[in-house]
Amino acid sequence: MSGSAAAAALYETVIGLEVHVQLSTRSKMFCGCACAFGAPPNTLTCPVCLGLPGSLPVLNRAAVELGVRAALVLNCTIRPDSRFHRKNYYYPDIPKNYQISQYQYTGHPPLATDGVLALEAGGVTRRVGIRRVHLEEDTGKLVHAGGRSLVDYNRSGTPLMEIVSEPDLRSAEEARLFLTRLRAVLQYAGVTTGRMEEGTLRCDANVSLRDPGGPHGTRTEIKNMNSLRSVERALRFEEARQRDLLAGGAAVVQETRHWDEARGLTFSSREKEEAQDYRYFPEPDLLPVRVDAAWIERIRKDIPELPEARRRRYVETYGLPEHDAGLLTETRPMAEFFEATVQLGGHPRTVANWLVGDVAAYMNAAGVEIEQIAVRPAALAGLLALVDRGTISGRSAKEVLEEMLRTGRAADEIVRERGLVQISDTDELIRLVDAAIAENPGPVGDVKAGKDRAVTFLVGQVMKKSRGRANPEMVNRLLRDRIGAP
């Protein structure tokens, strides 16, 4: 990008996100078919989700409950009588050629509006507005193969929730942070699994630049961002692209652009720009969605602990550092992994250290989520128990964990196979200590002279001789004894 620093300073970035999440209901939005990922094509269908003539939708109450939950955790105003509308357009992945959705129409607002999600970054709290939360049915999936297009309707009619933020985000980093927080809150509330790689969380973004405080600039809509990382990358790219255009005196064209992960750029999807007329009208096959105060209260009581509360609990009852508590609660599966390991006897601070340290490093490198790693809480607890009992050293434990993550094998098996059982036998240790003393007269003299750092060096020599298996505390004590240190 050739935009000068001076030009860059002129513009303020304005980003709004449209997030679709699949609700974690057992059955679809308007029929009894199961919601499941990865079933053989067209095996989870019925006359309703295939849009057969004569079939009628019946609203799944569980989907409304999850929608209300989401609205509550996003501090929205919940409408007591929202309606479903039909969004009319033709495409083979919507079998009825209309989608049952909700619509911002006078007198017919969506399920919930006017919420807020607070973001904390660098000690500053930002409040990002939530414009609306609405429910709709998902489409089927087109599969293009061998010059033919096939349709899998398993996903057709699965419940979706659309969350539209206000254009309150000011950078790509902030957008990523918002999405991370939003995902965490929704996961904790049990609303969605929020897995971008499975498409249970999808995100489009509207991006524009403007003079700070001035009127909004022309925006582009960015699609096809399939991970948190790609959201940040795509928005960073788009921000720079628009800045260059404006700095060069050119105009931003209002259009939809697709993110190309491999090439690291957005490109125009060349879709017609005239606004499509979806001819929304109230869905006559469904009654208005009545959500009364009593129902809302029942739903509120059922909401599980949210990330913020959990983070505080980790700091206050487990004594974890703020940073670790923040990382552990970033996704619900990570927090659940942590708590399960603690439940199985792991010391909270030790478990936290391993998770935010070695385990997180492995996840980053491999690009996987906690629920995809080969190690389960019981296996990690087993490893930590070996360290606790003194069976292996902390250093060996790192090596063992690495293999566990790679292969999914149990800790004790690896320890036995590699002969990593820690040497705590005094006689054997004395032999090793004496050998080290004999080989290092210089440092021994230093120890005698009261230089403590030399002890550390000698411990290291013993550890080396034992190939990491010596019990470091015992070695330390024995060295001092044998040298006769002060």
């Binding site: 019946v58 001819r279 009208f281 006559p284 469904l286």
Partner: protein, 501 residues
């Protein structure tokens, strides 16, 4: 052709068949054979059926031969029924009178079909109708018109013309139709049978191929009021598969037919007795009202000033919903798909162009227009307001009277071809029936006399979910009429062969 003691089992009402089965005087097989013989004789003339499975009907009848006479036999055991072809039947062709659904066999039964089977009814086949129930004469069927059993040169009414004609001609004991703007009541009147549109939400729409979802209701055709009551009882009631079906208790309609109307407040709707009413219709309707008065009903003149706006409002709301409901017929999953398309848009356009008839296309275009950005408020929204006014006006009127009465249609059955080129003239056939669909209220068409040799129907409308009063009023009229049981005399195939005129 037949008097009060029918010679053929094809002319007996269902309640009578049940009694005959119990006494062992008839068997379902004999009845089905009688009906099939009648079909064979008159069907070349009437053409009520699009699909008939005589073998299946005989098999089902044989299964009932022993059980139908039992004390605990289900209410419609061994009774042959016909279904309008917009009701889904598992594995049986269901076209809604449209080429776009030629060859379509649904994988499921409509709720009403399930209920009929559970009640022991024998399904004979599927009856002809205007394409997607859009029409008032059955001339909009892609598979050719049905003819009125009373006069082969006239229409049977529509859109449920096949069902009405089948019951009138003894080609079925009972039949189901659907009514979006009059599609049960108008053909009921034209064919001289009882046709009832229940309260919106009374009968499940699951499996009814939608025309206009907020107006469609399934209802019974029968040769007398008791049979209509019996059939309604079997199909009515809440269905979890239809969110708009109501959880209102279903009374035992036949048991409530007392024929007593003393003190009943009979609202005579001034706007329904307008100028331009066919004199024969006006005469028969006037006589029917007097007959009810003689039975003790009290006449109250009622004005419904917004009723004349019902037809224009209906022709916004119904096509708007239809334009969306019919979007699915695009050649992707089922039904007709063009063989001449290069791309997706071409496939949609050609499939729909080849699959739909002129009237369906007209209504899809009307509805698409009415819902378009910039027109929505002026058309769809305004029509909904008119609908609300009409709903309130009817509810208010029904606070001071028990039923509303008037003609079903301004004329008796009109000649085939007379109105096909003039949609507005065709739409006028529904001018008295459409308001009840907009208001969601129940209405029955009951034979009330003749205009010349053509039957005339009296429309009796009632309060929401008060089908019992509507039916009882119709029953009282039926008993007060001078010549009950007059049936059409259809020229049979054999007679046609012997008179080459």
């Amino acid at each position: 052709m037949t008097g009060p003691h029918p010679a053929s089992p094809a002319d007996r009402p269902a309640w009578d068949l049940r009694a005959c089965y119990r006494r062992g005087e008839l068997s379902p097989s004999e009845v089905v054979d009688g009906v099939l013989r009648r079909i064979e004789a008159v069907e070349p003339q009437v053409r009520a059926y699009l699909y008939l499975d005589a073998d299946a009907a005989r098999r089902e009848a044989a299964q009932w031969d022993r059980a139908a006479g039992a004390e605990d036999a289900p209410p419609l055991a061994g009774v042959p029924v016909a279904l309008k072809d917009n009701l889904c039947t598992r594995g049986v062709p269901t076209t809604a009178g449209s080429r776009v659904l030629a060859g379509f066999r649904p994988p499921y039964d409509a709720t009403v079909v399930t209920r009929l089977r559970r009640a022991g009814a024998i399904v004979l086949g599927k009856t002809n109708c205007d394409e997607f129930a859009m029409g008032s004469s059955t001339e909009n069927s892609a598979f050719g018109p049905t003819r009125n059993p009373w006069d082969p040169d006239r229409v049977p009414g529509g859109s449920s013309g096949g069902s009405a004609a089948a019951v009138a001609a003894g080609e079925a004991t009972l039949a189901l139709g659907s009514d979006t703007g009059g599609s049960i009541r108008e053909p009921g009147a034209f064919c001289g049978v009882v046709g009832l549109k229940p309260t919106y939400g009374r009968v499940s729409r699951y499996g009814l191929i939608a025309f206009a979802s907020s107006l469609d209701q399934i209802g019974p055709f029968a040769r007398d009021v008791r049979d209509a009551a019996l059939l309604l009882r079997e199909i009515a009631g809440r269905d979890p598969a239809d969110a708009t079906s109501a959880g209102v208790e279903v009374p035992d309609y036949p048991a409530l037919l007392t024929g007593r109307v003393a003190g009943l407040r009979l609202g005579v709707v001034r706007e329904f007795l307008q100028d331009g009413l066919d004199p024969g219709v006006a005469g028969a309707v006037g006589e029917a009202i007097r007959a009810l008065e003689r039975s003790g009903a009290r006449r109250v003149d009622v004005s419904l000033p917004h009723a004349p706006y019902a037809l224009p409002a209906y022709y916004i709301v119904a096509p708007a919903e239809a334009s969306s409901n019919l979007a699915r017929y695009a050649g992707v999953l089922y039904g007709h798909r063009t063989t001449r398309a290069a791309d997706l848009i071409g496939m949609y356009a050609r499939t729909r162009d080849e699959g739909f008839g002129a009237e369906v296309k007209r209504r899809i275009m009307l509805g698409t227009y009415a819902l378009s950005a910039g027109y929505y408020d002026a058309f769809y929204l305004r029509a909904q307001r008119v609908r609300e006014l009409i709903r309130r006006e009817f509810a208010q009127a029904l606070e001071s009277v028990d039923v509303l009465v008037g003609p079903v249609a301004p004329t008796p059955a009109f000649p085939l071809g007379e109105r096909v080129e003039d949609p507005l003239e065709m739409y006028l056939a529904d001018v008295f029936t459409v308001p009840l669909n907009l208001a969601g209220l129940p209405g029955v068409s009951v034979p009330c006399g003749f205009a010349g040799d053509l039957p005339v129907g009296l429309q009796i409308a009632g309060r929401a979910f008060d089908e019992a009063t509507v039916l009882n009023t119709a029953y009282a009229l039926e008993r007060a009429l001078p010549a009950p049981g007059r049936r059409p005399r259809v020229v049979t195939a054999a007679e046609r062969r012997s008179s080459p005129a």
